[in-house]
Every structure is written in structure tokens, then in C-alpha cells.
């Protein structure tokens, strides 16, 4: 690996100041599971690494006003195991659990997964279906951005120079809310996602009152499929409805040709199946939560 300086900040403010001082040749490092590989391959030139992994104030999961806030340094293993993610936000735990092998889940963080803006970021589709808000702190203060506006292109986001993702907030949900994450990978424990779908549904008296569907590795960035969401709204959960929604998801996909992981043709064939499955699970979970709530 090319030599670099390793900087250890004592606080978030200091970390941001370090990035400001060193500009383009500096990067934040959390788990390092993406960055170290890119640096070894010579794909990334870094003169200064600013370590985030010991900023323990950014490592937490906590319920707040019915919603959930997640510190960006929380690892995939912690998210996959958290009891706070057994209910409405289960899709996020499923996504974290699906990320490669235990060795990587123990190192990799949700903040790194989002901030690195890799097209295959598995935590992005569930966060998109939860309307997650991202707090970004920079030299001039903190701003909040909906995750749907965060990704610009592969490996590019709205994060400015020296700006850091400091919190992920999931708004509260109704009691009849369920979610699911489904993906196709090569096999568990090796390689990245080929394509994925997350869905979340809220029901009221058996009718869908809120629907979100998002896909991963099916477009230059993870994104929602509003056409499918509009179709679902106001309808009763039903397999033919979900099949039609899956068709819209596939139609909205713009997968990159020449990807080593799966051809566009393959992804368009698989997407409706994944979407139908995710919606079915989300609906079943929403009803199950509703029953539990009414007892």
C-alpha cells in the first residue's frame, strides 16, 4: 500500500478540522472494509486517513420519540443482532445480516456503507423505504438531508469536503407497519449483491396507507420506485397487486451493462420476483404487528 499518515482525532469536530486541513488527499476511515481494499488496489490515492472507528459517541442505536436514531459507527453485526430492529425496521437488520461474512460484518459500519456511496450498499434500500434522514456535519455546521437526495452517482454523494455523516434517523411508524429486504447474491459470504429490493408497508383496516419500494444495484444509485408505490397506495395487499408492482420495479430499473455481477437482462428478470417476495413479507409482517398491537 502507498504510504500515508494516520490521524487520530479525539472528537467529531477535530476529525472535521483534520479533513479541512488536508483537503482532497484525505479520507475518513471507519471499518475500512471498502477503503483498505480500494487503497491496496491502487484505486484510491490517500495521503491522510482520519480515523473514525474510536469515536464511540457515534456508535449507538436508540429509540427516540417513536423513531430510531443510529450512530454511523454502528457495525453491521450490531445492527443485525439488535432487538430494536426486530419490529417495523426489520428490513434493515436483514440487509446488515446479508452483508458478506461475519468477519466483514464485525468491521464494516452502516455509516461507511452509506457514505462511501457504493452502488451495492445493502443498507441503502431499507433506509430509503423508511424515509431516513441523514445528519451531515461539516465545518459550517450540521444539515439534514433525506436519504432519497443523498446519492448522486456511483461513489458520489452530496457530502461536501470535510463533511461527515453523523446520524441516521428513522422516523416513527404506525403500529401496522412491516418491512422486508430481499436480495440475490452469488452465495452467502462471498461477493457483493447482484440486485436487491426493500419494501415497507403500513396498513390501516387492511388497506395500504403507506408504501415504499426501493431497489439496490439496479440503477447507478440505490433508489425508490415511486411508480410501484403509487400503484400500491389505497389497495388491499394481494399477490396479483404485488406481481404488478414487481413489474413496475423491473421497468424502472436501469442496470449498468458490463457489470461483473449480473447482466441487465438477468436483473430485470429477478427484480419482479424479489419485489413480490419483499412486498409479501412486508404485508404479512405489518398484519402480524397489527395483531400483536391489538392484544
Amino acid at each position: 500500500m502507498r504510504p500515508f499518515e494516520y490521524l487520530i482525532p479525539a472528537s467529531v469536530d477535530e476529525a472535521i478540522t483534520m479533513r479541512q486541513e488536508h483537503g482532497d488527499c484525505s479520507r475518513f476511515i471507519a471499518g475500512g472494509t471498502e477503503l483498505v481494499v480500494a487503497m491496496k488496489a491502487g484505486k484510491l490515492r490517500v495521503d491522510y486517513l482520519v480515523e473514525l472507528s474510536r469515536l464511540t459517541t457515534l456508535r449507538y442505536l436508540k429509540l427516540t420519540d417513536g423513531g430510531l436514531t443510529i450512530g454511523p459507527l454502528t457495525t453491521h453485526a450490531e445492527i443485525a443482532r439488535s432487538p430494536l430492529l426486530r419490529g417495523p425496521w426489520l428490513a434493515l437488520a436483514e440487509a446488515s445480516a446479508s452483508i458478506r461474512e461475519p468477519q466483514v460484518q464485525n468491521l464494516g459500519t452502516i455509516g461507511g456503507n452509506i457514505a462511501f456511496a457504493v452502488p451495492s450498499a445493502d443498507t441503502a434500500p431499507p433506509l430509503l423505504t423508511f424515509d431516513a434522514m441523514l445528519a451531515l456535519q461539516g465545518p459550517r455546521g450540521t444539515r439534514t438531508v433525506p436519504i432519497s437526495e443523498f446519492f448522486l452517482a456511483p461513489y458520489r454523494s452530496v457530502l461536501g469536503p470535510a463533511e461527515m455523516l453523523v446520524e441516521i434517523h428513522l422516523p416513527g411508524t404506525g403500529s401496522h407497519f412491516g418491512s422486508a429486504f430481499c436480495k440475490v447474491g452469488r452465495h452467502h459470504g462471498l461477493g457483493l449483491s447482484v440486485v436487491s429490493v426493500a419494501a415497507s408497508l403500513e396498513l390501516e383496516a387492511g388497506t395500504i396507507v403507506r408504501a415504499r419500494v426501493a431497489m439496490g444495484v439496479a440503477a447507478p444509485t440505490p433508489r425508490r420506485v415511486v411508480e410501484a408505490e403509487s400503484l400500491l397506495l389505497g389497495e388491499k395487499p394481494d399477490s396479483s397487486l404485488f406481481r404488478e408492482a414487481g413489474r413496475l420495479v423491473s421497468q424502472a430499473a436501469t442496470p449498468r451493462a458490463g457489470s461483473i455481477r449480473g447482466s441487465p437482462e438477468y436483473k430485470r428478470e429477478v427484480l419482479p420476483v424479489l419485489a413480490e417476495r419483499a412486498l409479501g413479507l412486508a404485508a404479512a409482517r405489518a398484519s402480524a404487528h397489527a395483531e400483536r398491537g391489538s392484544r
Binding site: M1, G32, V36, K40, Q103, H188
Partner: protein, 156 residues
């Protein structure tokens, strides 16, 4: 830069360049070559060590990141010259062919059994999902871990 951490219960203080990975330092500076250098990109699991009890690919970890932490490698598993039950079970079941994946397999299995002393075969497979065996001796490996789990429960 100066880095202090613990390896197999012994404290180490090393002067190293930050771009050196934990894998390189374990093998080249500390002579702990039981940790294997496989794919060098976090795919194969041959370089698995336990950091504060949790499995990690040491090829992905920059050495400064382990300062103050406890690293366990395969060399630290036997106690007073007596093999750990997992090591003994791997021998008894012929769970090693070429042996290259063995250190990582055994350490991943240790972390799994520490968390879950009575895993199902499916749970063992999931726990070892990040460790590839190219000789393809997975059946014997799972047999060995199941057997070691029994032996460890008896000890407790």
C-alpha cells in the same frame, strides 16, 4: 507510529508504518505465520483473527486500528501445550486437507461457540460462511465443530 496492543495475551509495542495491515505485522514482525495470507481482499477468511473476541479479516485491518485491543491468533489457542478442543476435533475428523484455511476456520468456529455453545449444523455453516476451503472439506469441518461443541459443553 508507535502502536501497543495485546497478541495472545502478551503486550506488544511496535514502531510501524500505518499502511501496514495487521496481517503483515503478525506474520512478518511477530513471526506468527499461522495466520495465512490468502486473497488479501477480505474474501477468503484465511487471515481471520479474533479482535476482542470477534472474527475479523486481518488483511483489512490497518494496524493502528487495533491499538489497545486484544488479538487472538491460532498460536494463542492451545493452553499449556494442550490443544483447544476445536483443534483436537479438527485433527480427529480429518477436517484439514492442505490446512491453509484451518487457522481461520478454527478461530471463526471459536467465536461462534463462545456466542452459541449449541449451534445447529446450519448455524455452524453460517458462522463459517466467511472462510473458504478450496480442498472442499466442509462436511468434516462442520462435523469437527459440532463435535468440539459437545466436548466444550462437557468441560463446562
Amino acid at each position: 507510529m508507535k502502536i501497543s496492543f495485546t497478541v495472545n495475551g502478551r503486550s506488544q509495542e511496535l514502531e510501524i508504518r500505518p499502511e501496514r495491515t495487521l496481517l503483515e505485522v503478525l506474520r512478518d514482525d511477530l513471526g506468527l505465520t499461522g495466520t495465512k495470507h490468502g486473497c488479501d481482499s477480505g474474501e477468503c477468511g484465511a487471515c481471520t483473527v479474533l479482535i476482542d473476541g470477534e472474527p475479523a479479516n486481518s488483511c483489512l485491518v490497518l494496524t493502528p486500528a487495533v491499538r489497545g485491543r486484544h488479538v487472538l491468533t491460532i498460536e494463542g489457542l492451545a493452553e499449556d501445550g494442550k490443544l483447544h478442543p476445536l483443534q483436537q476435533a479438527f485433527i480427529d475428523h480429518g477436517a484439514l486437507q492442505c490446512g491453509f484455511c484451518g487457522s481461520g476456520m478454527i478461530l471463526s468456529a471459536k467465536a461462534l461457540l463462545d456466542r452459541n455453545p449449541s449451534p445447529s449444523r446450519a448455524e455452524v455453516r453460517r458462522g463459517l460462511a466467511g472462510n473458504l476451503c478450496r480442498c472442499s472439506g466442509y462436511q468434516q469441518i462442520v462435523d469437527a465443530v459440532m463435535d468440539a461443541a459437545d466436548r466444550l459443553r462437557e468441560v463446562r
